[in-house]
């Protein structure tokens, strides 16, 4: 069934939907790049989806793409590409795969931003020294 039809069924009725006091509603499905409940970012409905997740060991990022051929076979549905080198290479890989690979180009910036946010969170936290605030 087409993505549009599935979206019309799921847009207001899903166990993964999160409606709180915020103006926009969110969605908890795993392949949603921004977590927004919208047609473009929905992770269940499209034949091609992009997701960026942190690697389980905490260093690096996994780019998850959907195989458009096997949408009915959940076990074979996703290809996971692990990106563990430095941030610049990771981001440029993501840009290439999506942009030049012509795979959901509308999600390119969102994927890059999410990857950079994850990478940033994985860096050790540097405590800045406060400059002479305490006198005594």
């Amino acid at each position: 069934m087409s993505a549009d039809l599935q979206w019309m069924i799921l847009r207001n009725n899903s166990s993964l939907l999160v409606k709180r006091k915020a103006v926009r509603s969110f969605s908890r499905e795993p392949n949603n790049l921004k977590g927004l409940n919208s047609f473009r970012f929905n992770g269940l409905v499209h034949r091609k989806t992009v997701a960026v997740e942190p690697k389980t060991d905490g260093k690096g990022v996994v780019l998850v793409l959907r195989n458009s051929k096997s949408t009915r076979k959940p076990s074979k549905n996703y290809t996971r590409i692990e990106l563990k080198r430095d941030a610049r290479k990771t981001l440029s890989t993501i840009r290439k795969v999506i942009g030049e690979g012509n795979y959901r180009r509308d999600l390119k910036m969102a994927a890059v931003r999410r990857a950079s946010a994850i990478i940033r969170s994985q860096k050790p936290v540097v405590v800045k020294k406060t400059r002479g605030k305490k006198k005594e």
Partner: protein, 396 residues
């Protein structure tokens, strides 16, 4: 009506056997959550037991109103004496121990008739929805590692007798996470249902739909969350629990194959239901992006306007010469002319003045733009007078 794909059949060990079955046409039926919801609600009403207040409640007194003149409200009061109850108000809904407003009656319309066609439409929609992974996931089932949706198993599953074997099957099919999810949601019901024999509740797990029970019911029934149905008796309340489409269904091969004869394909009417064929969808192609990209639509469109026109700030032509020039090109010429005329008039005036005062006019252009003090024709006036004259000119 899309072409119907082939669905592989899986063994009870979770591996694909070589066989595949053509997907029954029901799975292409239009999905109408609104019809499913309303039919489900009506079907739920049919299982109700009537409740009512006793007909005599509140009326088992011989109360009479005391009428006016006794400094009390005119509500009927319990007759007699010797007890607290005497003289108390009775019968009204506002009275203590009175009859309630509109006492509930057993002849309330508890059950609902649903048109046969609507019932069938609902169940076709519900079955179609179980074949779409997105809808099953949105319902909340954990199917990330399941081999295929719709999930079809060989008929050997129907002969299983031990729950242990059934659990093994579910584990191999990666459905155990789903069962564990059911177990983790076991809790007590909120509310009075606890004391009405409905104490515990849990999530719904997968439905196992079989053709012949050769032990499968006994094997699967004790696994938390699992429901078992025979294909011939599919129930909307089980396929779309809560009125929401997309429950996880596990089919046995013969059950899956039977669906075509139960519901029909569009080309062939149903064999088991008299005079029934699958509902027709309103749109044959609901893929919006494909429609927009199609030739027929693209031909009718004008090319896209990529140029962004933004709001232009209006500038006042009366103050802004370039804007005035755009509106009235002759205005520039006019202004130049006016300037020239002004210069000439000024010069004339100056000449007249100088002639009156007896000075020789100096051509401002020739002398480099600035007017210098005039050369006196007669003897030089004293320095004071020069200064006075300068001041006068500056004032002008």
């Amino acid at each position: 009506m899309a072409c119907r794909p082939l669905v592989s059949v899986y063994s009870e060990k979770g591996e694909a056997t070589g066989t595949s079955v053509k997907m029954p046409a029901v799975f292409q039926a239009p999905i109408r959550p609104d019809i499913v919801g309303s039919v489900h609600m009506d079907m739920m009403k049919n299982g109700r037991q009537p409740y009512a207040v006793s007909a005599k409640a509140g009326h088992q007194t011989s109360a009479e109103s005391w009428g006016t003149g006794r400094a009390v409200a005119r509500i009927p009061r319990v007759s007699g004496g010797g007890t607290n109850r005497s003289g108390q108000g009775a019968f009204g809904n506002m009275c203590r121990h009175g009859r309630m407003f509109a006492p509930t009656k057993t002849w309330r319309r508890w059950h609902r008739r649903i048109n046969v066609n609507q019932r069938r439409y609902a169940i076709c929609s519900a079955i179609a929805a179980t074949g779409i992974p997105a809808l099953v996931m949105a319902k909340g089932h954990c199917i990330e590692e399941v081999p295929e949706i719709p999930l079809v198993l060989t008929d050997k599953v129907q002969t299983l007798t031990k729950t242990k074997e059934a659990v093994g099957v579910l584990r191999k099919l990666k459905l155990w996470r789903e069962i564990e999810k059911v177990k983790s949601t076991r809790r007590f019901r909120a509310g009075k249902g606890k004391m009405r024999n409905r104490r515990r509740i849990q999530r719904r797990g997968p439905v196992v739909i079989y053709n012949q029970d050769n032990g499968i019911c006994r094997a699967f029934r004790n696994i938390p969350g699992v429901t078992l149905i025979n294909v011939d008796r599919l129930n909307l309340l089980k396929i779309a629990p809560g009125g929401h489409v997309g429950r996880l269904c596990i089919w046995t091969e013969s059950a899956f194959k039977k669906l075509d004869s139960i519901y029909g394909t569009w080309k062939k009417a149903s064999e088991q239901k008299t005079d029934y064929n699958l509902p027709m969808p309103k749109m044959t192609n609901c893929d919006l992006s494909r429609l927009l990209r199609s030739d027929e639509i693209q031909k009718a469109l004008r090319p896209p306007k990529k140029q962004v026109t933004r709001r232009v700030l209006k500038r006042n032509p009366l103050k802004n010469l370039s804007v005035l020039a755009k509106l009235n090109p002759y205005a520039v010429v006019e202004k130049k002319l006016a300037k020239l005329v002004e210069k000439q008039q000024k010069k004339k005036r100056q000449e007249l003045q100088d002639a009156k005062r007896g000075l020789a006019t100096v051509d401002a252009a020739a002398s480099g733009g600035k007017s210098r003090p005039r050369k006196p024709v007669t003897k030089a006036p004293p320095a004071k007078e020069k200064k006075e004259k300068k001041e006068k000119k500056e004032k002008k």
